[in-house]
């Protein structure tokens, strides 16, 4: 070794300074126009501009110092740790899992069952509304959607960028059929799922022989077509105004949650009038729907059809050589995924009481797909964690009123919600390209069930 440690560290510092300055220059170039200059409309409604040098300086400084610290300190530190770990010879596979780890699913389920009551206990009746609705129900809807899409993308390896179309079909099926024919939620819930599955077959049939990215763009196109039809077919869908006053779900037809109804749930149980009970009821409905989705997915994976889906993801040609009809296999995956999207959609309509094409934009498909990939394709637990982190995390931003005290009263944290969501997507992918849970649980075993490392599983070609 010719290098002394000192020599090494001084050259490292020089490198860090150089890289830091470079990053600063790049950041200056990138942000000069967009951050350094602000365009705005003046009193005469004329577009004009002013400078924001201070803010630009902050951006440049953050980039330069960030890069300097990364190169100079964080990376060497990480490398050292990795080296030490490799030297110690202890492999990073801990077979001894903690109690929490082993019973994670049971604990999570118990927590979910108690969640609405915990929220009521802590935040009071009205205070808990936000937690049950915005966090609980909202996150669970995304969990269900992501689990549904997981069948298509995670198991069958078909890249679907228009999943939100089936969500829309479910939501509008419920909205229209309940408004026009007065059917109840419990009748329309399965019907919406079946209709969405049916649409999955109709849309899927012509396009499923396309491969990879061609399939992606056509599914994206179908998603947009459905949204555009919803906007423009005003006679039926009332266009961008949407459909409001959608009937609430009833307590299995026994009690109603409508305030004026004779069999009002709150009255029947002698509860004070508050919408929180309806929300709690909805929370359990969506929780049940999620559990059904998970149960069906787990069962299907152990059935020939589920194995065929996964085999299809791994190698389509080999599937054909084994006598598997790949077209019907793909169609069933597409239709099953669509069906769960339809269930979630009809639930969404019942919960919202209002649907409009606004809720079914491409961004929603992207968010759902992101949750599936960030969670780890195929892993139900990973996907649920990703939904909690991504949806819950951005939802939390709405609550950060205290930031107003830091950044001034004009600061609206909501504005940064999607910006941070996007950044989080990038950062999680960079650090965990295979998602939170990268391993795959085998569906059958002879001697012992060993998780399959993510490096073996493929991601499908179409």
């Amino acid at each position: 070794m010719a290098y002394t440690a000192e020599n090494n560290s001084s050259s490292l510092m020089a490198k860090a300074v150089k890289e830091g300055i470079f990053a600063g220059v790049i950041a200056f170039g990138m942000f000069l126009l967009f951050v350094g200059i602000e365009t705005y409309q003046d009193i005469n409604n004329q577009l004009t501009w002013r400078t924001r040098w201070g803010l630009l300086a902050v951006f440049v400084a953050v980039a330069a110092i960030g890069r300097f610290l990364t190169v100079g300190f964080i990376k060497p530190h990480l490398d050292k740790r990795k080296l030490a770990k490799a030297k110690s010879g202890v492999l990073d596979i801990s077979t001894d899992k903690s109690f929490f780890h082993r019973n994670f699913l049971k604990i999570a389920l118990l927590f979910l069952l108690c969640y609405p009551f915990l929220a009521m206990l802590i935040f009071g009746r009205q205070g808990s509304l936000k937690y049950v609705d915005n966090f609980g129900i909202q996150i669970l809807i995304y969990v269900m959607l992501a689990w549904g899409l997981n069948i298509v993308v995670g198991l069958a390896g078909l890249l679907d960028l228009g999943y939100v179309a089936f969500y829309a079909v479910g939501a509008y099926s419920y909205a229209l059929l309940s408004a026009n024919f007065g059917f109840s939620f419990w009748l329309l819930l399965p019907m919406a799922g079946i209709l969405a599955g049916f649409w999955g077959i109709i849309l899927g049939f012509p396009v499923l022989r396309l491969r990879g990215d061609y399939l992606a763009i056509v599914t994206l196109a179908f998603g947009e077509i459905i949204r555009l039809v919803l906007i423009n077919w005003t006679d039926v869908t009332r266009g961008t105004f949407g459909i409001s006053g959608i009937a609430k779900a009833s307590f299995f037809g026994i009690w109603s949650f409508d305030v004026g109804a004779a069999n009002n749930f709150n009255k029947a149980w002698g509860l004070p009038s508050s919408s929180v009970y309806y929300k709690i009821f909805l929370f359990y409905v969506i929780l049940a729907l999620c559990l059904i989705t998970a149960y069906v997915t787990i069962r299907l994976r152990r059935m020939p059809i589920g194995r065929a889906w996964e085999a299809l993801r791994e190698d389509e040609i080999a599937c054909r050589s084994l006598g598997i009809n790949t077209v019907t296999t793909k169609l069933t995956a597409f239709a099953t995924g669509a069906m769960f999207g339809g269930f979630a959609g009809s639930f969404f309509a019942a919960r919202q009481g209002f649907v409009s094409p606004e809720s079914f934009v491409f961004l929603e498909s992207a968010v759902i797909l992101a949750i599936v990939v960030l969670g780890g394709m195929g892993s139900l637990t990973g996907i649920a964690i990703a939904a909690v982190v991504m949806v819950g995390g951005t939802e939390l931003l709405r609550e950060m009123e205290f930031l107003k005290h830091v950044f001034g009263p004009d600061f609206t944290p909501e504005l940064y919600r999607m910006l941070l969501f996007g950044l989080a997507m990038i950062i999680v992918m960079l650090f965990k390209p295979r998602g939170f849970v990268g391993t795959r649980e085998p569906t059958a075993f002879l001697k012992e069930r060993k998780a399959v490392s993510g490096s073996f599983t493929k991601e499908g070609h179409g």
């Binding site: 069906v296 069962r299 299907l300 059935m303 020939p304 059809i305 194995r307 065929a308 996964e310 085999a311 993801r313 791994e314 190698d315 040609i317 080999a318 599937c319 054909r320 050589s321 084994l322 006598g323 598997i324 009809n325 790949t326 069933t332 795959r440 085998p442 569906t443 059958a444 075993f445 002879l446 001697k447 012992e448 069930r449 060993k450 399959v452 490392s453 490096s455 073996f456 599983t457 493929k458």
Partner: protein, 287 residues
């Protein structure tokens, strides 16, 4: 689908009649006919670019031949015209299984799962096309247990029983080849087509492979293989067909083919007068 061809020899399982395959202007296969007998190992050999893989892909449904007929006779006497079946039906209906030159395993599934996927059609039926199985009916449970037993049998045959719960992508090259064969056998084929099964194997693995192939034949499945490795071909085949430039140049027992001057010329590309010299060497068994 089931026109009986009277010309078919009684004990033939596969009959290829006047097969031609054109790619653009290129005639890859030109009026090629041969028969494979039931219970035998038939080898299709020929120099690089002779069209072996094309024939193979026509038989296994990956290409649609330009002309010609490919007839498969099942044990129950039913005949199938393979070129009229859809790709997956070649296996499902006609009972022809194949392996690939570039191994195509489901690398993210375990070895056992690979073998279970191969029993898809049987299990599908047993699970009442998923619906009955989802309800947890016992019929499916028995079928699933039987499927695992069948998988276990082939794992033992292929000497992979210890690796059953490992991902297929984690196996060594030789083991992957054996797994691919075991997987094809789990579909319960009457004819197994192997595309260069010995390619890339070391001599020891090659020997294990030979044993496996013989065992498969002895269990009643006929084999058709494309091979480069002459030691494998000569040792295990019962019948050899030689292809050059899309045409058949020789057909017969390994001994017959080995001594056919045309074959030697095709393989070595030598002048006719040199052929004899090589024949002598062949007799001594040095090539």
């Amino acid at each position: 689908m089931t026109t009986g061809t009277t010309t078919m020899t009684k004990d033939a399982i596969l009959k290829v009649d006047h097969l031609s395959m054109k790619f653009g202007g290129l005639m890859a296969i030109n009026d090629f006919s041969f028969e494979a007998k039931r219970g035998e190992i038939t080898a299709l050999i020929g120099p690089n670019g002779a069209g072996k893989t094309t024939v193979f892909n026509c038989i296994t449904g990956f290409y649609k031949p330009t002309m010609g007929m490919i007839t498969l006779k099942r044990k129950d006497g039913q005949d199938y015209l393979l070129e009229r079946l859809r790709d997956f039906e070649i296996n499902k209906v006609a009972g022809v299984a194949r392996t690939f030159q570039n191994i195509r395993l489901f690398s993210g599934l375990t070895v056992l799962e690979n073998l279970l996927v191969a029993q898809h059609n049987v299990l599908m039926k047993a699970s009442g096309y998923t619906i009955l199985g989802l309800l947890g009916l016992p019929a499916y449970k028995t079928a699933a247990a039987e499927a695992i037993e069948k998988a276990r049998h082939w794992l033992e045959m292929a000497d992979l029983i210890d690796r059953a719960d490992d991902p297929a992508g984690d196996l060594s090259y030789g083991a992957q080849r054996r797994l691919e064969i075991a997987r094809a056998m789990c579909t319960g084929p009457e004819l197994l087509c192997l595309d260069e099964p010995a390619a890339g194997l070391n001599p020891k693995e090659s020997l294990t492979l030979n044993t496996l192939l013989r065992a498969i034949r002895d269990e009643g499945t006929s084999l058709l293989l494309i091979e480069h490795d002459m030691s494998v071909v000569m040792e295990i085949s019962d019948h050899v067909v030689v292809l050059e430039y899309g045409q058949k140049i020789s057909d017969g027992t390994p001994d017959h083919v080995k001594n056919d001057p045309k074959v030697i010329a095709a393989y070595l590309g030598v002048e006719d007068d040199e052929v004899e010299a090589i024949e002598e060497k062949l007799d001594e068994g040095t090539v």
